[in-house]
Symmetry: C2
Subunit: 265 residues, 2 copies
């Protein structure tokens, strides 16, 4: 099965200083995972041209199908994503006339002047498609480069989410032809290190991603969430495979002295 | 002023699939920022040897003072950080006798056998110092490489936090000789794009990091959080500089028709 890799780039000092928790990355990751993409890497970089250029160039080198960035599209001095992206792709930055129209409409409706700072939000690499922002002002930047689809969105979560949905509905034409399914259950009284060798075997046997998430105290009161996930073109097939693996995992867990607590698909 | 760069590497498919929000990164970032470090990059990679090796090697190339990783130190098949780190540094993996002692004590107290899976947690690159884990089992791995301090911690937040604190107290001898101060206030009724040109000037004038965080609707009901931050060897000097910048920012905000809502240092 072909893997459709995607990468996420988050631009913003506020994430790097720990001030902001990177929920943008997890939102995008979850959304793309549900579409069958595999996120290979998440990179958070500073609001600096050179850092933004590096992040895009390095991601492009790994040849994912899709790169989605957040942050740095606003009107302030430290919003540098359009410039960084343009430099990374070596494509001239220009005033995008459609984006300019979008801004003009929003501001003129309220009788607000389109200053240089505001115009900046319409500057995009040549050949970009501006993606309408229904929540805020700055449009997203969509551009195709060497077969890689690149979408730059603002950092404000609601604006990012709005642009991401428009992108998925309107512009994301080629999607992985797979269904991703994930299921998990809780087991009390089994140490992660006790079940580890069995999981290793089951991963091979079922060709699934199985992961134990320790929630308790390994030595004194072990509590594990066991997650089983996989993708397949055939939804029934992958559901069956995951169910069988979970059944076997539960049997092993009980044999090791554990109690199954709950199950969720 | 010399910048002390640090980098964070988070290893784990659960972050890349969006299942887990990367609070580990923000915790470490906040802690290191408060010590005067500047986090240059956060990289999240898969539980795969090649990905882990790449992440460490790329971070090392950027020559930060400090690299802290989370995840991949447990007993399961997909815990591969010790192996990945060893390969990235080209330093042999060996059974660390001190780490082995730590494990032996924890398990033997409870009459639990030290299986191969459990022993794995004592495998570290030659020359590593194991950092005691007071919450869970797997010790942290501390190693110095080409002048860079590298600390690998488990992915369970409480274990990571415990090991990080021990590291800071016991092992982090060279720290940046600066104090980082941050302050912010809220202003209603001023668009981010209106205050943008003034902020650009003030950043230069005061040599501070000033960032606007939009919290409302830019066009119809703008609400901005304005954050001002900086570092200096002299705590009083940096506090004064930030206070002056905030005073001037508030004056500008009021001139632009805004209302100051609250202030916090």
């Amino acid at each position: 099965m072909e893997v459709w890799y995607a990468e996420i780039i988050n631009i913003g000092n506020e994430i790097l200083s720990g001030r902001t928790i990177n929920t943008n990355a997890s939102h995008i990751a979850r959304r793309l995972t549900s579409l069958g993409f595999t996120i290979r890497r998440i990179t958070v970089v500073m609001d600096e041209i050179d850092e933004i250029v590096s992040a895009f160039r390095e991601a492009i080198k790994r040849k994912p199908k899709l790169i989605i960035s957040t942050g740095g599209l606003g009107p302030t001095y430290d919003d540098k994503t359009n410039e960084g992206l343009s430099k990374a792709l070596n494509i001239e930055l220009e005033l995008n006339s459609i984006a300019y129209e979008m801004l003009l409409q929003k501001y003129s409706k309220l009788n607000i002047e389109l200053t240089e700072e505001r115009k900046k939000m319409a500057m995009m690499p040549k050949g970009s498609i501006p993606v309408e922002n229904n929540v805020g002002v700055a449009p997203g930047i969509l551009i195709s480069y060497e077969g890689i689809t690149i979408l730059a969105t603002p950092g404000v979560p609601k604006e990012m989410e709005d642009i991401l949905e428009t992108f998925i509905k309107k512009y994301l034409k080629e999607k992985p032809d797979v269904k991703y399914i994930e299921s998990s259950f809780l087991i009390r009284g089994v140490m992660e290190s006790s079940i580890a060798p069995y999981i290793k075997q089951l991963v091979k046997k079922y060709d699934l991603y199985i992961k134990t998430h320790p929630k308790g105290q390994e030595l004194t009161s072990p509590l594990l969430e066991i997650q089983v996930a996989g993708s397949s073109k055939d939804e029934n097939e992958i559901r069956n495979r995951i169910e069988k693996a979970i059944e076997e995992l539960k049997e092993i867990g009980i044999k090791l002295g554990g109690t199954i607590l709950e199950s969720q698909v």
